[in-house]
Symmetry: C2
Subunit: 311 residues, 2 copies
């Protein structure tokens, strides 16, 4: 089977697995006075130029304030606006991927983002993707667990070429950098793009890269779910909730000012509501927010200003 079909089937399956797991967390979370467990609403959409997608969004859940897990498979003419940025040759492209952002309600539970995609232009195919973690209250254990899980998946997928984790961890720190704030969006993870045999940095082929890519993608749930489960019930103060909403503002700033995925979506006339499902449900912008030296907020900012080795 061609990689196009394999990749589309894979991301559809991953979307199912992730949504099922998250609905399971919602169903098992019981707290007095809260509404029904959150469930995903599904929207199928078609792209005028070719292809379409299956968006799934959960809003107002017990654990997840907002969660979007989207799959798309689109094709057609390469839009002029993105021609220069795309490897390959020719005027037609194909792109499929799964993209998710989870915004938990509890400020102690971190926001997370993941994206795994396969693209082709003319005769050239490549993989991209990654997953990363954005805490509001810093738990070093969580960052270590997340990164250790990703490193193990990179090693399992890439065999002896174990430096892939380090390369893609560094790339993640560079990519998710909020230049105008001089800080990272979160505590990182992995990020990679344009990954094909010629650029992998070691002798390989698309089949081997497929193994790496699927292994990295399948590590998302084991990397994130344990963190969500151990933080979702932590008692939170009003001040922590306010801090979470302020920090979500930084998330919006990154996505609208710097994120290439958002730009690509807008330039290729993607479905607006699917692109913007990443934006947090409720956000604050307060003027000139300062943190108390020595506080947990200050500890978070220190790590965001100086990305750390977590493994």
């Amino acid at each position: 089977m061609a990689f196009k079909q394999r990749a589309e089937a894979f991301v559809l399956g991953l979307q199912d697995a992730i949504c099922q797991a998250l609905e399971g967390v919602e169903a098992q979370h019981e707290e007095v006075g809260q509404g029904a467990p959150g469930t995903f609403r599904e929207d199928r959409w078609e792209r005028p130029g070719g292809g379409g997608g299956r968006s799934r969004v959960l809003e107002g859940g017990r654990v997840l304030e907002k969660a979007g897990v989207n799959v798309s498979a689109v094709w057609g003419e390469v839009p002029d606006a993105v021609k220069a940025q795309m490897p390959g040759d020719g005027d037609t492209f194909f792109a499929t991927g799964v993209s998710l952002v989870l915004h938990p309600r509890n400020p102690h539970a971190p926001t997370t983002h993941a994206n795994f995609r396969y693209l082709e232009r003319g005769s050239v195919g490549w993989f991209g993707g990654g997953s990363d973690l954005t805490p509001y209250v810093l738990y070093e254990d969580d960052a270590r667990h997340f990164h250790h899980t990703l490193r193990a998946a990179c090693q399992a997928g890439a065999g002896a070429h174990a430096d892939l984790y380090q390369r893609f961890k560094d790339w993640c720190d560079t990519y998710f950098w909020n230049t105008h704030r001089h800080e990272a969006r979160g505590v990182g993870g992995i990020f990679f793009d344009h990954l094909r045999p010629e650029t992998a940095g070691f002798p390989t082929d698309l089949d081997a890269l497929w193994t790496f890519w699927t292994s990295a993608a399948e590590s998302f749930l084991p990397a994130y779910l344990p963190i969500l489960l151990r933080r979702k019930d932590t008692p939170a103060t009003e001040a922590e909730r306010t801090w979470q909403l302020v920090r979500r503002g930084r998330y919006v700033e990154f996505n609208l000012l710097h994120d290439r995925g958002t730009k690509f979506g807008l330039q290729t006339q993607g479905r607006i509501e699917s692109i913007f499902m990443s934006l947090p449900p409720l956000v604050r912008w307060d003027y000139d927010v300062q943190v108390v030296p020595g506080s947990r907020e200050a500890a978070l900012l220190e790590v965001l200003a100086h990305p750390r080795d977590w493994t």
Copy 2:
């Protein structure tokens, strides 16, 4: 006196007048159970490359949930990033202006933005500016009052060249267009840039343009204040508040994705907290929000999709 000094003195005076008027509104607004009237906090800052500013921000007021009225006067080397966009010649620039955004608490009271600036590069000086209105609940009377006041000010300032209002009204509709949403940010106002004798479209000099520019700037209070006063006490439902927060999300999208002023500020290493004072205090992003046909929300969207003649 050189235009540089005159312009800086003018915008400082306008900042004083506007802040005083708004603090007056806060002080006179009495409602049971609300906190103290809002007052402006002032921050003076210096720009490493030359110049500085006087930022004034009011948060958590009775009438104004967040308001920023900033003045700056900066100079130095023209940053490479903005060289191509700037008229004039030479490697040094001067820029002074007042910039304000007011976010009232009540969803029936519109958000407003205004900016009046004078720039020089080498031997060339020019004016820019404008003011515009962003309602959440559409009151056609408000839009008409706002535009009539601006039109009268344009006519008073530009004498027989009365088409300035129409030109700058159209420019405003074009500029504040949220391309990715296919709608205007609000019901418009006026917008102009690079206004100098050579581009004014009629025989004039900088002195005559000064008269126009100050007249337009001084029309801000009479254009906006009566609207704020007649809407601030309108009873609002929970649904109207939610709608206001959703629509504030569009305001953020415009400012971060499209606004040239924000881009210019970031590219010239401006003070982040002063640039981002325009962002609303509290914002929602809900998935795929739909409005009921025939509702007031639908009426607003209709006007935003098809900018109207209000005079």
